[in-house]
């Protein structure tokens, strides 16, 4: 639901980078979106296409790398990765004392500029 705000932040970062480094336009922006970040990829793509009009990123496409949810459980000494969006307990031992390691990402990792 807040994907428009995320898309606007993305554009703002990209624009400021290009202004600073002297680039004229953007062909693509690569982002990592964790599956537990609360952001839907489809909605973000839609929002980005709507907000990029008349900006330096007008022709840019968004490349989304979805990052699965993974973590480490200190009770059973187990690294795990799951398909689900959220983890409530360690998938092996069921304990709740685990640490999420990936899945909350909301990062830009590269851009193609000219």
């Amino acid at each position: 639901m807040h994907e428009v705000s995320i898309a606007l932040s993305l554009l703002d970062i990209a624009k400021r980078y290009c202004d600073r480094e002297g680039y004229k336009g953007i062909e693509s922006i690569g982002v990592k979106i964790g599956k537990a970040s609360g952001v839907m990829s489809e909605a973000l793509l839609f929002a980005f296409d709507a907000v990029k009009i008349d900006t330096i990123a007008e022709k840019a496409h968004l490349i989304i790398d979805e990052i699965p949810v993974s973590g480490f459980c200190s009770t059973c000494n187990n690294n795990f990765s799951v398909e689900e969006t959220y983890v409530l307990c360690c998938p092996r031992c069921g304990d709740i004392s685990f640490r999420l390691e990936t899945g909350r990402e909301l990062d830009i990792y590269e851009m193609e500029v000219f």
Binding site: H2, S5, S9, E21, S37, L88, I108
Partner: protein, 221 residues
């Protein structure tokens, strides 16, 4: 040409949130970001908190000087309700945005008498999803779940339960009239966030409000 640009997408928001936090800390104000779905009772809960602090015109909790920021998509009803209680309040209308962000809060800080306050409650836009993603410069996130929303909500909307330090279960006076399993709400919430502090309150009867304020007092220096 490909270039590596490693940046958090919400970096701009986070930067302003840090600035807000510094302004609040310098003034000695503890800030609570209060979130919930629409209709869970955020404004009523703030009203009850204020009324309990100043019950019968006598300030029972002398340590607390409270101010409020009201976040709504449109309208000033909530700010008017707080203003009637004689508390400094600012209304933010987000237009269409489904959450408050750090910049919106930054713009209204100047309208609050920060130096006279030690507690600021920021009522976020009613929404159980997006507000949890955006830092606004708060010391603590707290959320309200009214029991009539159902006992399935923690597992359906886990992020807010994970991000919050306090969970206020409101409308417990309605418990006898529903099939809601309040123990399930508590168990599921704690499985998402084992350090969550849970309060059971009724804004209608005032039950549980005193316990909440005792806890607030312990946070505010």
């Amino acid at each position: 040409m490909k270039v590596k640009v490693v940046t958090r997408i919400l970096e701009a928001n986070d930067r302003i949130a840090v600035e807000n936090r510094r302004l609040f800390n310098d003034a000695g104000v503890y800030v609570i970001n209060l979130m919930s779905a629409p209709g869970a009772g955020k404004t009523s809960f703030i009203e009850q908190t204020i009324s309990e602090i100043c019950r019968g015109g006598k300030k029972l909790y002398r340590k607390l000087s409270i101010g409020v920021i009201e976040g709504d998509i449109a309208g000033t009803d909530d700010a008017q309700r707080i203003e009637r209680l004689g508390i400094p309040v600012v209304q933010i209308n987000t237009g269409s945005a489904c959450h408050l962000d750090a910049n919106m809060v930054n713009e209204v800080i100047v309208d609050l008498p920060l130096n006279d306050l030690n507690l600021l409650i920021v009522e976020n836009v009613g929404n159980l999803v997006c507000p949890a993603e955006f830092k606004i410069g708060e010391d603590m996130k707290a959320m309200i779940l009214s029991i009539t929303e159902g006992d399935d909500k923690p597992l359906k909307y886990p992020l807010m339960f994970q991000e919050s330090s306090a969970l206020i279960l409101n409308k417990i006076d309605l418990l006898p009239y529903t099939n809601v399993d309040i123990e399930k709400i508590k168990k599921d919430s704690l499985s998402l966030n084992k350090s969550l502090k849970i309060f059971e309150v009724s804004c209608k009867t005032g039950e549980g409000i005193a316990e909440w304020i005792e806890w607030l007092q312990s946070l505010v220096t």
